[in-house]
């Protein structure tokens, strides 16, 4: 009863702003734009099918979704320090943190579903419905990434305590996850002996939620067909237990930061 009331309260706040329709419109425009970006040999604009659109959109999703979710999570986490009225109610503070995470995860997932869904209808009408499952899988991967990035952002925001500091740290973490971790991976793989490198690659993929989402996305899309040798290598690596490990890692990137955020908030002075 209390959990439902808390979620309803946070849900209403998350949806009250204009962020959900703005993000939905942004995702829809990006999807349609990517789908229209393919040029036929004759130079006329044609619409790409779901398979190629999904692969192209994956990269865009890996850059934008973590940034949005980290920033929203960080601001939402920093706001926790201002919830003196809620913390004076007989509610565990961890519930307050989990409720905020759930509300924003739901709001961003709705944005993704609306945006990609609207674009999907256009692509389906113009280019046919072949490989639509890959497109749906992209939304699933993006949702997992939203969930993990929001949890990390909340942890950052609660630890930082001020909006400005939280936003600064969130941008730094985004840069490390999206760019820095890849550079580290390349450096490590170049100095490690060959037999160790495939396991090292798997561990590096698991250690970064953005890379986990990338690997999972490419694996789901049978990237060996549409993403060349890189996709083929990933597909081989992710066969069987590798995919399970990466998926578990991505879920852990939600659970662990959320738990740490809850523990930190429970002990914190407001």
């Amino acid at each position: 009863m209390t959990v439902r009331a808390l979620l309803r309260f946070d849900n209403a706040s998350a949806r009250r702003g204009r962020l959900v329709p703005i993000f939905a419109a942004g995702f829809a425009l990006a999807s349609v734009g990517v789908a229209l970006a393919g040029l036929s040999a004759g130079g006329a604009v044609v619409v790409q099918g779901f398979a190629r659109t999904s692969i192209s959109l994956l990269q865009l999703t890996l850059w934008t979704v973590p940034l949005l979710a980290l920033l929203l999570g960080a601001v939402s986490g920093a706001e926790c320090a201002e919830l003196e009225l809620l913390t004076a109610l007989p509610l565990p503070r961890t519930h307050i943190v989990v409720s905020r995470w759930a509300a924003w995860t739901i709001a961003l997932t709705i944005s993704l579903a609306l945006g990609f869904g609207a674009a999907g209808v256009v692509i389906g009408i113009l280019a046919g419905s072949a490989d639509v499952a890959r497109y749906v899988a992209l939304i699933g991967v993006a949702t997992l990434l939203v969930s993990a990035s929001l949890a990390i952002g909340l942890w950052i925001g609660i630890a930082a305590r001020s909006r400005a500091r939280a936003v600064g740290f969130a941008v730094l973490v985004w840069f490390v996850l999206v760019v820095g971790a890849d550079l580290t991976a390349i450096a490590l793989l170049s100095i490690l002996p060959a037999p160790a490198s495939s396991w090292s690659l798997l561990l590096l993929l698991t250690a970064n939620p953005v890379d986990s989402a990338r690997a999972l996305g490419l694996g789901l899309f049978q990237a060996d067909v549409v993403a060349g040798p890189t996709g083929a290598a990933l597909h081989r690596l992710l066969g069987g237990p590798g995919a399970v490990l990466v998926l578990t890692g991505l879920i852990a990137w939600t659970v662990v930061p959320l738990r740490l955020a809850g523990l930190r908030f429970a002990k914190q002075d407001l």
Binding site: T2, A5, R8, F9, E82, L83, L85, A88, P90, K267
Partner: protein
Amino acid sequence: MIELHGVTKRFGTQLALAPLTLTVAPGEIVALVGPNGAGKSTTLRILAGALHPDAGSALIGKRNVVTDPLQARRHLGYLPQRLGVPLSAVVGDLALLVAAARGLPAAAGPSALVNYGLGDRLDATLGEMSGGQRQRAMLALATLGPIEALVLDEPSISLDVDGADEVREAIRAAKRGGAAVLFASHHLSDVAQLADRIAVMVAGELVACGTLEELAASTGVAWDRRVMDAPIERIYRLLVRGRTRIQDAA
């Protein structure tokens, strides 16, 4: 009942609250007065669970706010000095949440707002309400349901004359209901009208606590209940300034 036993709080190296011991009995109203930075809000925020004490114990109805926080807060009504929720929150949703958290029927939350003349603002966000409406809404929610302790930080702030009357009436109603009421205020007329006892704090220390008559006797101020405001201001100044002079000399 509200009990504070040797409660201490530091912010870094700054001592915000020297060991503080204070009890508010059921059906009693105690006012905390003192200059800014005296430790009034720190005391109230420790009771509400917003701050953790460094030492000592704070109890609400015999339940420790640190070791048994959920039970302690189950019958606590709290009005913070700052709003304590985002301005984007819808007041009706907030009322439903407070009712659910206190184990009351869902309708109890909105009903409390209606009773405070906010029936037409249930769908408004706190940001869309005036300062006075916001304060009334917060007061309605603080006093929602059966409460054993009511803790209010500057309850009359940003209220007009009628609003201030409502606050005084809500505090008296809580007292009649058997709640222990502890409130901080700079409005000495409120203090004189409402408080059974007055606790004077300066620089984190409780420098005096007693009825207005007792404080008047201790400071040598002539006491006349018919002209209440004048003596209480004089008593306040004597107690606070006297203490400040002692600290300056030290």
